[in-house]
Amino acid sequence: MADETKIPEKTPPPEKKAPPAAGNGKGLLTSFKDDIKSLPDEMKGKVKDQVEAAKDPAKTQIFTSIFRHKHDDTPRNRALGVLSNVFLHLHPAKINRDAVRYNYTWGMGGITFYLFIVLTFTGVLLMFYYHPTKVQAFRDVLYLEHDVPFGKILRNMHRWAAHLMIIAVWLHMFRVFLTGSYKKPREFNWNVGVILLVLTLLLSFTGYLLPDDQLGFWAVTVGTNMARATPMLGHEGPFGSQLGMTPYNDVRFGLLGGSIVDANALLRAYIWHCIGIPIIASIFMIVHFWRVRKDGGISGPAPVILASEVKEARR
């Protein structure tokens, strides 16, 4: 332990000069009076400087600490605006001049992603009011519909955005197919897309049960009844009973956490819907977007290739 009292001895304090403007040698009281007298003028100057600075907010310390570049309209700044922003930097700085045409991509991938964000946002809000239990689930939805401020529009938006997302994913896949965008080098990203398609459908399906009403109950009953018939893994499927499958140990039991759609199924649907699948889907989306960039950006609109230019490899 250092002896604190000895420190001043080791490093003697610098020679005491007169403090520069400590009242210019005047007494405390006089300098106090002078200070008060000059205060209005000094503050006026500071206010003026402040107003001047406010005219150019881009130069303030707060601004420059947030945005890492200037914002006057130069090519460099346009590029930096995208590249130095964590949300935008998935984009390149520049793209093919025709790729921004709506006709080509129909914007469907982007719309799908936007709907996913809307669903996450409204979904989290819904979670504040919803308990995944047989006793409360249905009442919670009724409560949302009738008592929670904006609860009805919240629920509606979540539902319709989910339907819209499915339509958008299908159309996105359709467009990717029609533009041949799954061809080299994008084969892998098409596969990531197929997984995203399945995840989107599963997200919607698991959500269907959550209001715990007749519609969801029977839809999920119809849907999961098919799992009974899984070959080898379901008790009604081919070779299922031969392999020892019963309603109490087959794949459907695993999905529902029981032999019927009941409390456990509700809880499982809830966890898959709100935690499991969204996380998995987010991971795949990250990979999907990353690969769009790595595969050379959007596939087109590319210059057409003529059949006569293709060199055929003999087989």
Partner: protein, 309 residues
């Protein structure tokens, strides 16, 4: 004509997306078709004029020398994205204000809904339950659809048509996908939504749903038609019938494919070619099974003690 019934079906809140899907699919098919036609015209022009092909920028979009090939994402792409987000938000808002999400009675296992329908996006599979056993319609088919979709990039060896709309350069792949997506998937959903009523029976649009309707259908198995009614024979016959479908169908498809897509055929490896053939034959078997069911009242082709096809 029962307009009320028709209105009831198409205004059921959860059916509205399908009502919206129809015009959207038609619109986007048209949009793609328009661009494909323009590109095909350009391709034909360039194929006919090699000198022009050397100098042309090869897009149907306007182009002048001196124009930049690339533009800034900020603002040219971001403003489109921003606009799209606003438009989608507005559509969602209006939709959510005008139409309420469905909420039925509390779930009741003792009160079966009739018809009990899966969510609309799975209705194609539910429709298949009419023609196939659940293990096929509910498990094997979805699995094969996923596998088939994933296989597409690896079995389509055609180097043309990558990054632009075209029809003439990709007739085979586009018609196959169109058949699978529009004819099989989307139209089955439409049948499942608008046509299937109580008891999953067929009601034409505008026909009143009759909850007591019963249809007596005497369905036979294919082996029965040949007088085979005892088990080992039925099973063996079915195996042969399915085998024959794959062999004869495969050979027929082979000739057709070789005749109309000689280049693709030459390019494809053994594995690619057989995977494509297998998936194609499976896909074609769907409408075939539907047809023999509707025309000849045949329920199963292959009957075994463990499973029926």
């Amino acid at each position: 004509m029962d307009w009320r019934q028709l209105w009831e079906i198409s205004s059921t809140p959860d059916n509205v997306p399908i009502v919206a899907l129809l015009p959207l699919v038609v619109f986007y098919c048209w949009l793609a078709w328009k661009q494909a036609r323009a590109n095909d015209a350009l391709i034909a022009q360039l194929e006919a004029d090699p000198a022009l092909a050397k100098t042309h920028h090869r897009k149907t979009y306007p182009w002048q020398p001196g124009w930049q090939k690339e533009i800034h994402v900020w603002p040219f792409l971001l403003r489109v994205e921003f606009l799209a987000a606003i438009i989608v938000t507005i559509i969602l808002m209006v939709w959510s204000i005008t139409l309420n999400a469905p909420m039925e009675e509390p779930a009741n296992p003792n009160l079966t809904m009739n018809p009990a329908k899966a969510p609309w996006y799975f209705l194609g599979l539910q429709e298949m339950l009419v023609y196939f056993d659940p293990w096929i319609a509910g498990v094997v088919m979805p699995t094969l659809i996923i596998i088939g979709l994933m296989a597409i990039p690896y079995i389509d060896t055609n180097p043309l048509g990558s990054g632009y709309y075209t029809w003439k350069q990709r007739k085979f792949s586009i018609s196959t996908f169109f058949f699978g997506f529009i004819v099989l998937w989307v139209s089955m959903i439409i049948i499942g939504t608008f046509i299937r009523g109580p008891g999953w029976l067929w009601f034409w649009p505008g026909q009143t749903w009759d909850h007591n309707k019963i249809v007596y259908e005497v369905n036979r198995d294919l082996p029965d038609l040949f007088g085979l009614t005892t088990q080992p024979l039925k099973g063996i016959f079915g195996l042969l019938a399915v085998g024959a479908y794959f062999v004869i169908g495969g050979l027929g498809l082979h000739t057709l494919f070789k005749r109309y897509n000689p280049k693709d055929y030459a390019r494809m490896s053994f594995l690619q070619y057989n995977t494509m053939m297998f998936l194609m034959l499976l896909m074609v078997s769907l409408p075939l099974k539907i047809a023999i069911r509707l025309l000849f009242h045949i329920k199963y082709v292959w009957v075994t003690p463990w499973f029926n096809v």
